[in-house]
Each structure stands twice: as C-alpha cells, then as structure tokens.
C-alpha cells in the first residue's frame, strides 16, 4: 500500500514557534532535495541548516532538516523531517510546495499506520494505532465542522446544489432519453458553469488562498455593551482603530485587523455590544457579531469589572459554552484585581484574564493566554488540522475550478452529455471534499424526485 509519499505537520508549533513537518515514502528525500536546490548531499540522521525554496525560486523558509533512510526511520520508509518557523503561512507554504512536487497530504494517523505496517511497531500496538486513527479523525471532522459553520460552507453547498441540479438534468438526458422530461440547454449550462467558476475563483482568492485561513486564526471580541471591547481591540492592535465612547451601542459593524502574537498571525475582530433589545440597526449589528463569534477560533468575552456577571452576560456566554474562549474582566484600573467579577468568573482561573484596556495592565498576560489557547495548548491538534484543512480545501477548490474550465471548453465545442457529465462530476467531487458529501451517489435520487420517470 505504500507506493506514495505523504506529508504532514507532525508536531504543532511549540512555544518557541518551531513546527516540524514530516515527509515519508519513496520520494521523501527527493522532495526535500527539490525544495533545497543546490544543497550538498544529505548525511543521514544529521541536522542540516538549509534554505527551502519553491519551484519559482522564492524562499520559503530557513530551516533545519534531516533525512532518514528506510528502514531506519520512524515509518520504516525513506523520510525527511523539516523544522521550520511556526507561522501558519510558512508551514502551509512548505507543505503545499512538497505536495506540488509529488507528495500527498497524509490521512489521519497515517504516519503511525505506516510505522506499524512496516513492522516498526509490535503487533500488540494495532489497537492503539486504530484508536489513534479514530481520534485524529474525530479531531479532523471537528475542525472541519467548526470551520464549515461559517460562510465558506454555505457558499460551497450552494455551488454543489446548483451543480447537482444540472448534473441531474444531464444524466436524465442520458439514462431517460426516451422519456418526456425537461432537457438541459447549452446556454443554461454555460451560464451556470461560468457563474460557478467565477464564484470558486473568488472563494479561492478571498477565503482560502489569500484569506483568513492562510493568514491566521480568528479571534472575536464579544460581550455586553460598554464593557470596553473596542478599547481592548485598540489596545491589542496598538492603534485607535475602533471608535470608543461612553455611550452604549457604539460599535455596529464587525471590524477586523491583523495582529501578531508569538510569531503567529491572527485576525482580531471587534463586534457590537450585546443587549436584550435594540433598534433595528443594533439588532443587525448583534446578529453579525454573534455570527462572527460562532466562526471564531477563539472568543474573548469581555465584561466590565464594575458591572460583573449580569444575567444577560451569563446567558450570552452560555451560548458559546462549547467554544474555545477566554473571559476578560476589564477596567481593573477602576476595580483593582477585577473584584467580584474576576473571583466569580464562570470559566475558572485558567481561562480568565483581568485587564485594563486603558492602563494596559494585564495585556501581556492576555497575549500569552491567546497564544497558549490557540497555538500551543489544548487546541494544538486543532491548529495542525486547520493547516491540513486549509491545504486540502485549496487543492479541492482548484480542482473544481479546473473541471469547470474544461466544462466551459466542452460546452463551446457542443460536446455530448456524457462528456459534460464527466466534468460536472469532477467539479462536484472536488466540492464534496470540502463539504464531506459524496456528490454523484445521489444523482439518481435527485432524478427520481424531480422528474416523472418511467414508461
């Protein structure tokens, strides 16, 4: 089964900001060679300091790498290990480059499975390997699910639905050509194909390639009105980006800026303060805020130390119970130590931070916590999966884009239905890799429920 070479981020980046990428399989060393052009020969099991470059010659990172010849490696195959700087961009870029030159993204637990299958681990460990695969898969789907709660999933699902409806028409024209049913028109397919391709290109630009996934995790600030969210936002950014005022309900829209903590890039978001009721604009602002929070990698829930945990605040907090979050008790310059609000925090000490957005007290500790709970601490598996997800999605969407390009060409040549189907299926298949649905399976279902079939 081990014909191919796999790559994955093996250890999540440590607090020093170093990440380890592993490559294993027959081409592992060749792939490393390609990325470190002109380098001297590798001495097995020895650390080398090298510069990695992409095929265009752009520098990827300055890394420390080592090669291992099978069977003297963890997996028993030829393998390479790259320690690079721990930023998401760098890690993604190196992994994508190695995929570009012949590796494949590893499946959950695949490194361990290979190690096991090549006899490096003893038989009694099968159980453990299987459990590892299962738990990594759970982690993977958890990350996918969280991520797909957001706009990307909605948009791809819409694309899928549109393509599936057209595929059903095309397939029905083949399998039920004797029946009196609606036919597809070339013009209609051209329109759908163009529109969909444009949309996917846009998604690739904004969401995947240049967007939030590539460039960092999302941190959303939320909490009651006037708690000082915008003040905290400005303090973390180091500039007066958001309007601050003593009037409740100042912030309406979601604001988003990039910040760096410990070598990592984050998107920090400020949102409208929460209240029981509001005018139409305020309600819309709160809705947007809640939506942003529901897609965040980390929520900073801010309360005013003087106000404490009101019923409204607790209820709101409850709605994010299952999320990765930190509670921030603000305005310690007015209530030293955060008082009651800090002592009675519903999240416990580990996830509670007291700060003053005005004096700057506690901001250092807040930054450390943010780093700990996104890059390093209990969510580290999540960040590793996130990089993998990002790469997988990017590749899948590019595949969909290419299939639609070909579809456009075939339509231009008036190609027959079974060729059009080939391309639509491939595009759907690729989208399915993002949403986890198997696309072509239920085409017959779609046909039976939409058309009156049967002589």
């Amino acid at each position: 089964m081990h014909g191919d070479t796999i790559v994955a981020l093996s250890t999540p980046p440590g607090s020093s900001g170093i990440a380890v990428i592993r490559i294993s399989g027959p081409d592992a060393i060749g792939i490393l060679d390609t990325m470190a052009p002109g380098a001297r020969a590798w001495k097995p099991r020895t650390l080398h300091n090298r510069v990695l470059r992409d095929t265009g010659g752009e520098m990827l990172d300055d890394v420390v790498a080592a090669v291992f010849h099978g069977p003297n490696s963890y997996t028993g195959e030829d393998a390479a290990e790259i320690s690079c700087h721990g930023s998401m961009q760098i890690v993604s870029a190196i992994i994508e480059e190695s995929i570009g030159v012949g590796a494949r993204l590893a499946e959950p637990g695949e490194f361990t499975r290979r190690a096991y299958l090549s006899g490096k681990l003893d038989l009694a460990q099968a159980e453990a390997v299987a459990d590892l695969i299962a738990s990594e898969t759970r982690l993977q789907s958890q990350v996918a699910l969280e991520h797909l709660g957001g706009g990307l999933s909605k948009r791809i699902t819409a694309i899928e639905e549109r393509l599936r409806a057209k595929l059903a028409l095309v397939e029905a024209s083949i399998d039920f050509s004797e029946e009196d049913i609606e036919a597809y028109t070339m013009a209609d397919l051209v329109a759908v194909s163009d529109e969909t391709r444009r949309e996917i290109s846009e998604l690739l630009e904004s969401e995947v390639a240049g967007g939030k996934l590539r460039h960092g995790m999302r941190i959303t600030i939320t909490g009651p009105r006037n708690a000082g969210k915008s003040s905290l936002y400005n303090a973390l950014l180091g500039e007066e980006r958001a309007i601050v005022s003593p009037l409740p309900g100042t912030t309406r829209d979601v604001l988003r800026e990039r910040i760096h903590i410990g070598g990592f890039t984050y998107y920090l978001e400020d949102t409208a303060g929460l209240a029981e009721a509001g005018c139409e604009i305020e309600s819309e602002g709160m809705r947007r805020g809640r939506e942003a929070a529901s897609a965040a990698d980390l929520i900073l829930f801010v309360v005013d130390a003087g106000e404490g945990w009101t019923c409204g605040a607790l209820e709101e907090l409850e709605s994010h119970a299952d999320r990765n979050r930190l509670l921030v008790v603000n305005k310690t310059d007015l209530v030293p130590g955060g008082g009651e609000a800090a002592a009675g925090s519903p999240a416990g000490e580990l996830r509670t931070v007291t700060v003053s957005a005005v004096s700057g007290e506690g901001l250092g500790r807040l930054r450390e916590k943010i780093f700990e709970f996104t890059a390093n601490g209990e969510v580290s598996g999540v960040s590793r999966e996130r990089i993998a997800l990002n790469i997988r999605q990017g590749m899948a969407l590019r595949r969909a884009e290419e299939a639609l390009e070909r579809l456009g060409r075939e339509l231009g040549m008036n190609s027959p239905a079974e060729i059009l189907s080939l391309e639509i299926r491939e595009a759907l298949d690729a989208c399915g890799e993002v949403t986890g649905r198997s696309a072509a399976e239920d085409i017959l279902e779609e046909i039976f429920s939409n058309f009156c079939i049967g002589k």
Binding site: E107, P108, A134, S177, E179, E418, A440, F448, I453, G454
Partner: protein, 612 residues
C-alpha cells in the same frame, strides 16, 4: 437421478445459467414449472434499452444466448441515444415474444449436456450447510452438487388488480410458496418487493391514425457480435398521451388503488411507476406519454407502455378509453401489480453463491433486481461460477471497470436494496469505457478461456478485434499532412471535433484501413474518447488498488472499537470480500478503511485477489 448442477426456473436468468453450465461441460438439469415458461417475457415486449443494451452485448460477448435470441426475434431495432456520444449508445429491440421463447427453447434443446424437466421445486436437500439437491413435488429428491435458484417473481407471489388479490407467480401461473419458506427456515432472510405491468389491448380495437408513429432504425444494428447483417422487416410502434380526462378518472378512483389503500406493502421501482403513482406524485404534469408496442409480429395484443397499473378492471377500461386513439379499445388482459419475496443480496458472494449455504446460487429477480437483461447477466455469472467451482477453478468476478455486469453485481453485494434494482449508465463510474461497441474486447477473453463459445465462433470475433487493434496502431504511428498544422499523428487529427475517420483515412500515406463497418465505428469511438477515458480512469481509480486486498469472510468487525458504529454494522452485514468493496459501503469512511488496514495486517490477511 444425479446431476452436477440443477437450475431452478427457466426464466431469463435460469436459461443463461443452464446454458453456461452445459457449455462448460457439466451435466445440467433445468427444472421449471412449465416448458411454456422458458424465457417468457411477462412485461415489456422489448430487450435492451439504456444501459440494458450494454448488458446484452456483454452477455453476448461472454457467450450468452440473449443477443442471438433477440436478433432472431426482433421486429424493430433502434440504437438509443444516437444524439449523444457513442459511449452511451444503447441498442434496443421490440421482441416477438413467441419467437423469443422458441429461440431460447431450441438453444436449450440443442445443448447436449442440458436436460429440461417440467416440475415445481418445493425445497432444498442439504447436508452440513452444503446443498446436495432439491426436492420436487413430482419427482422427490433430485441430487446435484450445485443448485442455482432463478425463481423470478414466483416466491410467494401475490398479484393485485384493484381490491382483488390473487396468489400467483405472474398472470395465469401459481406462485412458488414452499421453496421460499424452506429457504427462510434455513436462515436465509427474505423481504418483499413489488412490480407491475400495464393492460394489453386488442390490436384491432385501436385507432392508430390518431397516434404518432415510431419507426425502427433504417439500418438495424444487431445485438450479437455473432450476427452478420440483420435482414428484418420492421414493425412500427405508436405514441399517444394521457390527458386531463385520464387523470380525473384515476383521481376519482384512487381509493381503490392497492398502491394507495395500503394493500401493497412491498416497495416498487421509482423508475417504473404505475400510472396512478405518476398522476399523484406529479400532479402538475398535464399528460404522460404512452407507447403502443406489439407483443409480436402477428400478435393480436398490444402492450401499453406507460400505463402500468393495479387499478380495478372497470377503472382500467375507463382510463384506457380516455386516451386518444384508444376510445374504442378492448382490453385483452388487465394490468396488475405483483408482490414477491426476494433474498437481500448481502447474503451472497460476488460469485452469487450463498454465504450461508455452500453450493447454492441466486440469480435474477430473487436478488432484488428487475429486468430481463439484469437477470440474464446474473444467470450467466452464476452458471459460470457453479461450473468453475465444480472444476476447482478460480471464481469469475468482474470488476466495475470491466463491465456493467461487474457494476451490477458489485452494487448488489455492497448496497441496500430498497426498490427493484435496474441498471443505469450513471451507475457506472467507468461509463466511457463500458461501451456497447467494445464489449467483445472487454470480455471475449473470458468466454474463450471458460469454453463458452465454440472455436468457430470466437475465431471470427477475435479476428475482427485484431483488425481494429492493427488499425489503431496505424493511426498512432502514421503522420498525415494537415493544412493548418503541418504534419501530425493521424490519431491526433481524428481526436479533433468534427473530423471523421473517413477524413483521416483519405490522408493516410499507407492507404485506407481495411475494416468492416462495425470495426470502423469502434475504432473511431476509441480514438475520439481516448483522452477522456484516461481522465475518467484517473478519478475513478482512487480505490482500485484496494480492490485487490481481500478480507477474510469471518473478519471480527464487532471486536474493533476504533471502527465507527455505523461502519461496524455495515461491514458486519455485507462482509465485503475486498477492501475496495468495504470502502464503497454506505457509512464506511476513509478512517474506517485505515483502521481495517491495520487489523488486516495484524491478522496477516493481505492476499492478492484477481478482482479489478
């Protein structure tokens, strides 16, 4: 009396099974209730059609009889989907039912290892989980080493016409009850399905002048690779439509329809619904198409394709007469629905042999399929495997990439059957390669190896194939001069849209290709599709390597906690033979496959199979 193989049921599955066994040199007995049943068509007077036509071509390339029979019995031939690309062309023919039956009958009578017996089989003879024969009402125990069951819609068949319920295998025939019950007692699970058929009209009572005419192809293409040119005087079909009046009649009587009154419990095919179903589910459709098809060249009966129904007799008549052209129609035989037992095919191997009872094979409708062609294909496979097993040879399992037959059987052993299963081209992920024109190239080798065809027949077929290959090599090797591109490979030029083989042939430096019509067509299709086929295979081949990884039949799925619960259940139920099949089960995810690989390694179970 002792035979190597007993085939029970002389329908489309049973006939092919018996012929295949006999041709492979094993002593075969075909038992069927009545000689008149042999290859009877209880529904459409037609063979082939979309995806089914490809099945017939495959059956033919494997030495089956169906193609030859329909070439003789056909009274109208059409290549469907001509307007689409050649990958999805499908031959279809209207059949003279009586001639079809006679053709199959003489093939059976001509086979020297094959004996035909009239009688009803009521039970199995078994010893220690292995079948040893069958029990017959008339002859007592009949012994055999292998038994193939091809019982069609007979097991506990129950027919419905309105409120009337009549036990029967099909119109005018009794059901087979004992056998199904004995199988159930032996631990074979059974479930119910439903199908139906429209009324037949008296030809002379129809006003065809009010209908559209549908003719056959000007140049009919035969089904069999062994048929030369078809010379046949073709008979037209006619088209008419239901209308609001028809639908009003149906709606007014819908409470009397067994389908809606709760009288029918088995699930029917959604691709072949009754007219009452169509009118209810698609109430916005103002009319439904009806094809009037002759049951034979000289038959006085007309099959009303599109009007399948189990409404009461009086409603059927009123309904028929509301259709233009049928105002004065007389019903010769009423439409009916039939419910019957089938034996869900997660209980069989890909060889169609039972998992539970060794030496027992299931083929055709009993596996939950519907259709003459699906039945014939399974009969052939069951017959071949029974004979191979007797000879101690490797089983015959076609991959999904090799044949529609492979897709059909793979689907049966990996999918839940919730309605009668029929073939569609969209079920085949290798559709572009599984064409009617190249069935011989794909399958002839097996027929030769198994001895299913006499040398005299396959030599000609192989000769034709070789000439296609030679011509293909010439196109790939010879350069032609093209106005806009200088010199280029002939094959490349032919790949251009709008360029035909004739165009290219004129430019060939070494002169024209000496090829017959059918071979020319096949060559042109091959070259035009080459690029697409390569791409199709790349996407479809994700699991192909796993197809060779075999899983032991007794693999202990329940003990593996790391499998998802859903996967564990499906794997335990279907007991897939290969990792590829496991991966295709609903509810089995990539990670489950990874987990399986780990444990298969532990069990030392990696073995290379010859599937796929």
């Amino acid at each position: 009396m002792k035979h190597d193989v007993i085939v029970v049921g002389g329908g489309h599955a049973g006939c092919e099974a018996a012929l295949a066994c006999a041709r492979m040199g094993v002593e075969t007995l075909l038992v069927t209730i009545s000689r008149g049943d042999i290859a009877r068509m209880p529904c459409n007077p037609a063979i082939g059609g979309l995806a089914k036509g490809q099945l017939v071509r495959e059956v033919d390339a494997l030495g089956g009889e169906m193609g030859l029979c329909i070439d003789r019995a056909g009274i109208q031939f059409r290549m469907l989907n001509r307007a689409k690309g050649p990958a999805v062309w499908s031959p279809r023919a209207q059949a003279d039912k009586a001639v079809y039956h006679e053709g199959m009958m003489s093939a059976i009578e001509a086979e020297k290892n094959l004996e035909l017996l009239e009688g009803e089989i009521t039970g199995l003879a078994m010893a220690g989980g292995v079948v040893t024969g069958v029990m017959s009402a008339e002859y007592g125990e009949l012994q055999a080493k292998k038994v193939i069951l091809a019982l069609g819609t007979f097991p506990n068949g129950l027919m419905h016409i309105g409120e009337k319920q009549i036990p029967g295998g099909r119109e005018g025939e009794p059901p087979s009850c004992g056998l199904s019950d004995r199988l159930s007692e032996a631990g074979i699970e059974r479930e119910r399905l439903k199908t139906g058929t429209p009324p037949r009209l008296v030809k002379g009572s129809i006003d065809f002048s009010r209908c559209e005419v549908q003719h056959g192809d000007e140049e009919p293409s035969p089904f069999s690779f062994r048929t030369g040119r078809l010379v046949v005087e073709q008979v037209p079909c006619h088209i008419t439509w239901t209308g609001e009046k028809t639908h009003a009649i149906i709606n007014a009587n819908i409470h009397r329809a067994p389908l809606f009154s709760g009288q029918i419990k088995g699930a029917g095919p959604r691709y072949c619904p009754s007219i009452e179903d169509k009118v209810v589910r698609f109430s916005e459709k103002p009319r439904h198409q009806i094809f009037l098809e002759p049951e034979g060249r000289d038959s006085e009966e007309i099959y009303v394709n599109g009007l399948s129904t189990s409404l009461p007799a009086d409603v059927q008549l009123e309904m028929v007469r509301s259709v233009p052209g049928l105002e004065g129609a007389e019903i010769a035989r009423y439409g009916y629905a039939i419910e019957y037992d089938f034996f869900p095919p997660h209980q069989i191997h890909s060889t169609l042999e039972s998992r539970k009872i060794a030496g027992l094979y299931f083929a055709g409708q009993v596996n939950g399929t519907s259709g003459y062609e699906e039945a014939a294909a399974q009969g052939l496979v069951a017959g071949i495997n029974a004979a191979l097993a007797l000879h101690g040879r490797t089983p015959f399992v076609l991959g999904r990439s090799e044949a529609y037959i492979g897709v059909l059987i793979d689907d049966l052993v990996t999918k839940e059957i919730r309605e009668p299963y029929r073939m569609f081209t969209s079920r085949a992920e290798y559709r572009l390669s599984l064409r009617q024109d190249n069935a011989d190239e794909r399958l002839l080798g097996y027929a030769v190896r198994f001895g299913l065809l006499p040398r005299g027949q396959w030599e000609g077929m192989i000769g034709a194939r070789k000439s296609v290959q030679r011509a293909r090599r010439r196109l790939e090797a010879e350069n032609v001069a093209v106005a806009d591109a200088g010199k280029m490979r002939a094959a490349r030029l032919l790949q251009r849209p709008g360029v035909s083989l004739e165009d290219v042939e004129r430019l060939l430096p070494d002169g024209p290709l000496a090829l017959g019509k059918r071979e020319r067509e096949s060559l042109e299709i091959y070259v035009k599709y080459r690029g697409y086929i390569r791409r199709q295979n790349r996407t479809a081949e994700k699991f192909k390597r796993m197809e060779r990884r075999r899983i032991p039949d007794d693999f202990p799925y329940v003990e593996i906690d790391a499998l998802s619960a859903e996967a564990r259940e499906m794997l335990g139920k279907f007991r897939p033979e290969t990792l590829g099949k496991a991966a295709r089960l609903a509810g089995v995810r990539n990670s489950d496959v990874s987990v399986l690989m780990v444990f298969l390694e532990k069990a030392g179970a990696w073995r290379d199979g010859d599937d796929g």
